[in-house]
């Protein structure tokens, strides 16, 4: 178990003033602070069952029923929990081949997923196939740089979603990978894809300043590093502002812990990704003081 503490504070105070390190320490009684727990997965790829003990790389790991036990335990302990997924829910086991995503959607709904974004493999059943599976899904999908207006997913997929958990207002949006060359045209039809970074900047600014969100989270299926295309989470972090946390997917990257990157205006932003197949659950707890809304803030690692 890795635990790290960061401090986020209003830039207005930090500017030009040396604050003694003692002021930046984690309070002795954090239970007095309001807290929200963000849990996340990515690239679960239809992995329903725990890998067999004979599995070459990940014996006895993963499995949704075990993940759900873990989730129930955390929900018992924490008041405010948000459960998110960064895409590629479909494809990878015969469960998808036979049931076309129905079981994945049912299980995620049962487990209480709050929001997800679409990965390239979530187009593998085609748009109609996705819609068909999604009748068993009761949580929103956010894709901010895909336009589905000329498809059957018009008004089904959202641009962003705002959650209110206890005193927190959290804005969640999603960016996806270029589909041309990665997904068969027949499977995405007339979906159009915009460059993710300008879209992310626009929406994050809206969520921070218009919607006055305490936290802005981007579900990204661009990948941790460039794979087929140049856009990736590190570039996204470097060239945007107003995002607190990027939950990544696509490259199946096992980050040992969330990374702190510097955004376009020198603030810090977190990137995390937890491999694939539901082998691990990412967890990030935010403790908010009397944070003033629509203020820019800076992440300071303690």
């Amino acid at each position: 178990m890795e635990r790290r503490i960061f401090l986020q504070k209003s830039a207005i105070v930090g500017t030009g003033l040396a604050i003694s390190p003692s002021l930046l320490s984690f309070p002795k009684h954090p239970e007095h602070l309001e807290k929200i727990t963000i849990l996340h997965t990515n690239d679960t790829h239809s992995n329903i069952e725990t890998f067999p003990s004979t599995h070459a790389k990940y014996p006895d790991q993963g499995g949704v029923a075990r993940r759900y036990s873990l989730l129930k335990q955390i929900r018992k302990e924490e008041k405010n929990v948000l459960l998110l997924d960064a895409g590629d829910i479909f494809q990878g086991t015969p469960y998808f081949n036979k049931f076309h995503g129905e079981l994945e959607m049912k299980l995620m709904s049962h487990m209480g997923y709050d929001c997800a974004t679409m990965g390239n493999h979530d187009f593998d059943a085609g748009l109609e196939g996705f819609l068909n599976a999604y009748q068993y899904g009761d949580f929103p999908f956010v894709c901010s740089n895909y336009n589905f207006d000329n498809t059957v997913l018009k008004d089904v997929i959202k641009e962003y979603q705002i959650f209110k958990k206890g005193p927190f207002k959290i804005g969640v949006f999603g960016v996806g990978v270029q589909l041309n060359g990665l997904v068969a045209k027949a499977n995405f039809q007339d979906t159009t894809v915009s460059a993710p970074i300008p879209v992310a900047n626009g929406i994050a600014k809206h969520l921070r300043f218009e919607e006055e969100c305490d936290l802005v989270i981007c579900l990204s299926h661009l990948g941790y590093e460039a794979k087929q295309f140049k856009d990736n989470d590190q570039l996204l972090a470097a060239e945007t502002e107003n995002i607190d946390l990027i939950i990544g997917g696509h490259t199946h990257t096992f980050l040992p812990k969330p990374e702190v990157h510097t955004n376009k205006i020198g603030e810090k932003v977190l990137i995390n990704q937890v491999g694939w197949a539901g082998l691990a659950l990412g967890r990030i707890d935010f403790y908010l003081g009397e944070k003033k809304r629509h203020k820019r803030h800076e992440l300071v690692m303690v």
Partner: protein, 236 residues
């Protein structure tokens, strides 16, 4: 005086910081999911009928083989079956951005024959248990010589789109390339699997994301009847 001013600013700063209480602390954790956690019963119950249906599905008959499709070198009916059905699927479904390509797979990845009689879903899973996806690799034309050398050294691999004999090598009629050689293969081989090092010369690899096994399942279900094909595409 100046010192007092500075102290005052520092004090004010600290005061502001304390008043604003604008701190957001972040703790992070990664929780492994493994057999040390007891699986949830309600979810197990929800999964059970699907699991059962899936097991039954492995025995579902989706086609028929008029004779054994076995693996052989330099050329075998099993390799030809995998190559030809992959090519047919890619063409019928317009998966690739190009029409002209050769196909290359490996003998070693075909794990089990298709035996005479009914073909079940399980048979196709046994033939192709790996989650290999089909990719299109763009290579310089010079890589073709390396491919030919590899085939001669190994004694033959499943191929399509060209013919290789002791004396000659020729692309199939209608297949032409200019500066770039387009090779359909699996993600495993394109990444250098089975020492196919010529793939390292690649300009680009486009991964279709489509599992080879799924292609075979769909083709068997669609075409139903299969006969062993040997057409002397490799004679060494």
């Amino acid at each position: 005086m100046k010192i007092i001013q500075i102290l005052w600013i520092i004090a004010l700063g600290a005061g502001l910081w304390a008043c604003s209480s604008a701190s957001v602390f972040v703790q992070t954790d990664k929780v492994g999911v493994n057999t040390s956690i007891h699986p949830d019963d309600t979810l197990q119950t929800l999964i059970a009928p699907y699991k059962k249906a899936l097991a039954a599905d492995m025995d579902r008959v989706i086609g028929f083989a008029s004779d054994d499709l076995v693996r052989a070198r330099p050329e075998g009916p099993l390799g030809n079956f995998v190559i030809d059905e992959t090519e047919d699927y890619l063409k019928q479904n317009n998966v690739l951005p190009v029409d002209n390509f050769i196909t290359l797979m490996n003998h070693g990845s075909l794990r089990s024959p298709i035996s005479y009689g009914d073909i079940t879903v399980g048979d196709v899973f046994k033939l192709m248990p790996f989650d290999n996806t089909i990719v299109l690799a763009k290579l310089p034309m010079t890589a073709f010589d390396s491919i030919v050398k590899y085939l001669i050294n190994s004694g033959g691999e499943p191929i399509g789109g060209f013919q290789l004999t002791k004396e000659d090598v020729a692309f199939d009629e209608g297949t032409t390339f200019n500066d770039t050689l387009y090779v359909v293969t699996t993600d495993y081989l394109a990444n250098g699997g089975d020492n196919m090092n010529f793939f390292k010369q690649r300009y680009e690899v486009i991964d279709t994301g489509i599992l080879l096994r799924n292609i075979l399942l769909q083709q068997v279900e669609k075409k139903k009847n299969f006969h062993p094909v040997l057409d002397n595409r490799i004679m060494l």
